[in-house]
Amino acid sequence: MTVHGLVQIFIVLALALALVRPLGGYITRVMTGERTLLSRVVGPLERGLYRVAGVDSEREQHWTAYLGAMLLFNLAGFLLLYLLQRVQAALPLNPAGVGNISPDSAFNTAVSFMTNTNWQGYAGESAMSYLTQMLGMTVQNFVSAAVGMAGAMAIIRGFARSSASTVGNFWVDLTRATLYVLLPLCVVGALALVWQGTPQNLNSYTVATTLEGARQTIAQGPVASQMIIKHLGTNGGGFFNANSAHPFENPTALTNLLHLLAICSVSFAMLNVFGRMVGAERHGWVLLGVIMTLIIAGVAVVYWAEASGNPLVQALGVSGGNMEGKETRFGLALSSLFAVVTTSPSTGAVNTMHDSLTPLGGLVPLFNMQLPPLGGIGAGVYGVLLFAILAVFIAGLMVGRTPEYLGKKIEAKEVKMCILAVLGPSAAILAFTAIAVVTPAGLAGVQNAGPHGFSEVLYAFTSGANNNGSAFAGLGANTPFYNITLGLAMLAGRFLLIIPVLAIAGSLAARTTVPASAGALPTTGTLFVVLVIGVTLVVGGLTFFPALALGPVVEHFAMLAGQTF
């Protein structure tokens, strides 16, 4: 670990925090229907879309109707993306002449992008046409992120409203999040990436002759427009197989900074939106404090582990930290920071190969994903709110405090829904991992022996079911078995979380807000931050410690004993 590296990490996180209030204020105005700078330009388009779609923007929905609209929209997105992949060879904008995607892979990818997970079993540059990348992947990057923001807005309204029967209008939230927030930010961000060298064209791949005389095909395409929403929407699906480690996706140190800021910007700002809408920004800062503490602790462990390196490699006379799988232009510090930031806010983009992290370095991203998403654009908001509700409830049991949060009594309904939301994705991760490691079809994809191979499988299902999408690599996952089981894990992870969350939103909105009583637990101080972190770690630890012990933990001790896998 170097001072230079620590300063880089500090600068990135400080810049991310500096964006929270301005962006939070803007998004709040957008999502509450106030006029903004863009209203004059975007307003007519917004109203035109409502007219075409027959949406009454003034009419709000009960949480079940809100959820029904969300499910319908997602089903349509799934079917369209599936069809697009299955017939892409017959469609235009396919200069590389790629063929149609197989049914199981198309299913996996359609589910993945529709659910905002963005797990990729394919290599973008060799499997997808430009039309599929633009009309399929990029569009789903926008709308799946907007769906997440809509879900977050619903639960925020649940806390903010009193005795209300509705939680907003899904179609309005979806439209406003896309038109006023994501699109404008992405136009600016994509231009910045193009300025730094990220391609944005529809050209055929360039065939070049290298200095050694070999022929090399250089893939390109409409990359910048997909890159920026990949991060802003906490999606993570890359244009190229190497994702943000690819020199076209992430050419310079400045684009790396932009990638990191894009991941953090809207997702952190959404917690400021929460604070503003419940009447006190400090509530948002407290939840952001939880996320920042976990990120800083995670970065400290990963950076330390990677800087310490692999003692077996060092015994061969190779000095320095673990640079395997890392880009030299990013180095240890920014690779470690990226690995943690991408797995805490549920993004899944990578600028370093997580399979090559040291066992403890790899444990942190894995454990980050095993907690419900903390800090993503949508799921991250309700992920941290679930744990805040659980913390209030557990504190009530432990010290006799009245279980209430922001003037809402936390009753059996909310606690049952919280437990369902935590158990659903966790059960999917563990059950599918267990199936994969005892069946020939599952074991056929594992390319490393022992605990490292187990980690690859556990990582894949964790990433799929908990809305992340990053890959540990080393797992041959583009097979019917993994495409379908990971697809099911992604569906379970997304909807077994979001449905109970919206049930909580509806329940809380209907409840009358009461002034905080003397017996209520204070929820704006350091004590509450510590309590939420404690509950998060205990729940995550109890659920996944046995599995982690079989993977990265035992691999770490084996490494110290001189054995690698």
């Binding site: 790629v98 199981d104 499997a127």
Partner: protein, 59 residues
């Protein structure tokens, strides 16, 4: 601009089948069991989730 137009027309030179491709719906003359199976899984899951909404409403 000229190059872009060429790219637009490039596919007309003939479609290749990719490494993971099976010809897709274009080449299907009968029922593709795998297509139906995965679509049934997807649509079935959404129907199941409608039931799950009712469960969460009742709890």
């Amino acid at each position: 601009m000229r190059r872009t137009q060429e790219v637009w027309h490039a596919p007309s030179a003939g479609f290749r089948q990719g490494a993971s491709g099976d010809g897709g719906l274009k080449n299907i003359t009968g029922i593709n069991v795998m297509d139906i199976a995965v679509l049934a899984i997807g649509v079935g899951f959404f129907l199941l989730m409608l039931g799950y909404v009712r469960v969460c409403e009742k709890l």
